[in-house]
Amino acid sequence: MASKSRSKRKHSAATKPANPKPAAEPIAAVAAEKTAESEVVIETRNLSKVYRDFWGRQKVQALKSLDLEVRKGEIFGLLGPNGSGKTTTIKLLLGLLFPTSGEALVFGTDASDVAKNERIGYLPEESYLYKFLNAEETLDFYGRLFKMSGVERRRRTAELIDKVGLRWARRRPLKEYSKGMTRRIGLAQALINDPDLILLDEPTTGLDPIGIREMKDMLVALRDQGKTLVMCSHLLADVQDVCDRIAILHQGELKELGRVDTLLQLSGETELRIANLSDEAQQEIKAVIERDGAKLISSKNPTTTLEDLFLEIVRDSEARPGRRAKGKST
């Protein structure tokens, strides 16, 4: 069943305009579509990473020939099971690691270029911050690393502390913070320079349900301001909620890449919701529709959940290893 729906979905991707978009499509997604061709923020070409041990022996091939493009104004999701290379990808994009082969370009320059960091915000997997500083000192310190006047720095610090809801704890050293609080100050730290590109490694872990909601709203709001976001997460519902496009990695290989809405459409099936239909007509439903006698409330392709898609791809990829999604993009 799973593989059947998959093949259908693929078919639809090939003949894309078969179904008109529902009118209720979020405006931002349209905006993302509009700028799609305009500006590429991140580009990786054949990006590979091999972790070696001290003696230079190969330990893990963490990433294999990744080709990606992230465009301005979208939220890009990186999905994959544990150890599939998501964090590695983000570290390569930040220049924290050097690629074994291939290239990672951010804002058109090499990822190892320091100047690009002026426009980048990064929320690490866990918030790696200095425990002896308090929230205000932390933001002030990171602010100092950017070209920012003292006044602006203080304004921005206060603003961000409010935004992540830590006003009540702003004078406490970070070593006293709970996991969720640390996460929040980590996000504030990533936004201190009002970045154009934000890379978030599992932004919602450790947050309470309200925190998760706020985080997602914040991400969407940032996107609506025209910022580009790249996030990786295991929480598929979150990804489904906020991401415009996703890439699914498995064992360092790209397995799937595309718009979330397209990927989740099952184009071979049709779902009808019909009112005021008599029993007789119900049996003649195809004829009725053909004759256009009944009132058609909606007709669309049913969607799967991202969870189903994810599990299916991972299972499939485990059964038949190899590259699949290369070069396919929306």
Binding site: F132, L145, F146
Partner: protein
């Protein structure tokens, strides 16, 4: 002693060192370029390696140009904040404890307690501060890499050079704080420990009946304090001074009820010696470059024979009355300090010393002073104050003024030293006699000593940071410690590196050991011999390189000057500052290259 090594002239020294520095930097640049290319070529192939190397060079140039003081300050503040807490307090408390228990071990009965106390506090501070510098710098960066806090730093527009410099600055600030605190504390400790006075009752003083003393002069012993007493001599008005005991003396003033002694003087001094040029006159009275050799003695000193025409003449230049004026005004005397060695052909009276004489002469007018005699006890520093005004030998009605008559118009004077006992010899080298001009401030000199310690601390911090860009914390600490220890003994390492005279290097020695060959017989010629020699010279070369890379801590330390009561010359301090700066620059550059070429996310 301190003065034996001449301080080279500043400008030639600077040019020489600058040229040397340029060559070192150039060699370093070429070396790292070659090494970098080799690594890159092995990883990516020869052609791609070239591109990678070029890119690294370009980005390194950009990094160094874009290094921003603002970010360095921010990172320095972070390092400062990181270590300002417990560690600094622990170090300071440790120092307090050391000082508290020091009183038990430091014996005020020693012949020169000032020296003892000073060398104690200076070496205690030195050790403590270097330890702190070692700990701070070795653990910081590896800690950041391990806890991954470095991720949030390097993903900001921070250059790797700024990370290195920021740390250097932050830890230097911490060390400076500790050094300032311990410095003030040490100063107070030394001054308070040495401070004492004595009492003397009018009844303890009695008139002196001997000839050679003016009428009304009295002498007597003070009471016993700080394990010594002084002999007091006062004149008719009741004012005077004590003799020198334990390296100090006191001023004595008359009060209504009796006599009062002031605080100890002369212990904590910063003498400013003026060195001269030494020449000899032999026993026949002819000019000579050298005196005579008395055989198997150190050739550093030359000797003059007693009761002959042989003299040792020092010529001093650039003298003026102003250089010798004291806080009380123009000088009342010309202070000459000498420490001579004695070679005896007969025993004489050992404890009485050998009599010598000193005479001053104006090199232009040839006018001479009276002859002053003194007793030489070997290698004891004698300080002789020759009174400024004296009666002319030739014309008893005329008075001679040293500063007006014996110093020539262009500021020169000759000091002539003779040995007055037949069969005895005086040995001397150029540094053995000097004029003591106006003392510098001891407090300032003490501060200069701390500046030397400070330089050492900064170098340790820089070495620690450099190693920590590449190594883990414990390994960094060991490497830094090894550098410090080897740096302390760098003179010895250099001696090793210049190669033993007999028996060859380590490999050759081993072969001799195994084949039971003696030290001098040559090895049989052939393959074996040349291989051994190549191996040995490679080893010696490596030693020499290592020694060159090590900081030469002994040169940065000026404690010898302070402890012995000599002013640290400004030129020397400037030299130390400059060479330390050059060393730091190279160390920081290496640290930067390490950090630049490593992945911080491992």
């Amino acid at each position: 002693m301190v003065l034996e090594s001449d301080i080279p002239n500043f400008l030639p020294w600077l040019l020489d060192q600058a040229w040397f520095f340029v060559r070192v930097v150039f060699a370093l640049f070429c070396g790292s370029l070659l090494f970098g290319y080799l690594v890159a070529a092995i990883r990516n192939g020869p052609a791609k390696g070239l591109i990678v190397t070029r890119q690294v060079v370009v980005t390194a140039a950009v990094d160094l140009l874009c290094t921003s003081p603002r970010r360095i300050m921010a990172l320095a503040w972070l390092s400062f904040k990181e270590s300002i807490g417990q560690r600094l307090v622990v170090a300071f408390v440790l120092f307090l404890l050391i000082l508290m228990f020091a009183g038990w071990f430091l014996d005020p009965d020693s012949p020169n307690p000032g020296r003892l106390y000073l060398s104690f506090v200076l070496s205690a501070t030195n050790g403590l501060v270097l330890m702190l510098a070692l700990f701070l710098s070795s653990f910081s960066l590896p800690g950041d890499i391990k806890s991954r806090t470095i991720y949030t730093i390097v993903t900001k527009p921070v250059r790797r050079s700024e990370i290195v410099l920021g740390r250097l600055l932050g830890f230097t600030a911490i060390g400076t704080l500790l050094l300032a605190a311990t410095g003030v504390l040490s100063y107070v400790f030394v001054v308070r420990s040495l401070d004492h006075t004595h009492e003397i009752q009018p009844s303890d003083l009695s008139l002196i009946e001997k000839s050679g003393y003016q009428p009304g002069q009295k002498q007597g012993q003070t009471n016993y304090a700080q394990k010594h007493r002084h002999l007091v001599t006062v004149d008719g008005t009741g004012n005077g001074s004590t003799d020198i005991q334990h390296g100090h003396w006191h001023e004595v003033t008359r009060t209504k009820s009796g006599y009062e002694l002031g605080p100890p003087l002369g212990v904590l001094a910063a003498r400013v010696p003026i060195g001269g040029r030494l020449s000899f006159v032999d026993r026949e009275g002819k000019q000579a470059d050298k005196g005579i050799s008395v055989g198997k003695e150190w050739t550093y000193r030359s000797y003059i024979a007693g009761s002959t025409l042989a003299t040792a003449n020092w010529q001093f230049e650039n003298l003026s009355e102003k250089r010798f004026s004291t806080s009380e005004g123009p000088p009342k005397s010309l202070p000459i300090a000498l420490s001579l060695s004695v070679f005896r052909t007969h025993k004489g009276k050992i404890e009485r010393g050998v009599i010598g004489s000193i005479e001053l002469r104006n090199p232009d007018t040839q006018l001479t002073s009276r002859i002053y005699t003194f007793r030489v006890r070997e290698f004891v520093l004698h300080e002789i104050d020759i009174p400024r005004r004296q009666i002319d030998k030739a014309d008893p009605d005329r008075a001679i003024d040293i500063y007006d008559d014996l110093i020539s118009d262009d500021g020169r004077i000759e000091v002539i030293i003779r040995c007055e006992e037949g069969g005895q010899y005086f040995g001397m080298a150029q540094a053995d006699v000097y004029l003591r001009s106006q003392d510098a401030s001891f407090a300032v000199n003490f501060f200069k000593g701390y500046l030397g310690i400070w330089l050492q601390m900064v170098i340790v911090v820089a070495l620690g940071v450099m190693f920590s860009t590449l190594l883990s914390a414990p390994v960094t600490m060991m490497a830094t410690m090894a550098s410090i220890v080897m740096g302390m003994f760098s003179d010895y390492v250099l001696e090793l590196a210049s190669g033993p005279e007999y028996g060859g290097g380590p490999i050759e020695s081993l072969i001799r050991l195994l084949t039971q060959r003696n030290m001098t017989s040559p090895l049989p010629p052939g393959m074996m011999k040349s291989m051994v020699e190549t191996g040995d010279s490679a080893y010696l070369f490596a030693l020499r390189v290592v020694n060159f890379l090590l900081p030469n801590f002994s040169t940065y330390s000026d404690t010898d000057y302070i402890v012995n009561g000599f002013n640290v010359p400004a030129g020397l301090l400037l030299q130390h500052l400059l060479s330390a700066a050059a060393y730091l620059l190279v160390v920081c550059l290496i640290g930067y290259l390490f950090l630049k070429t490593r992945e911080v996310a491992r």
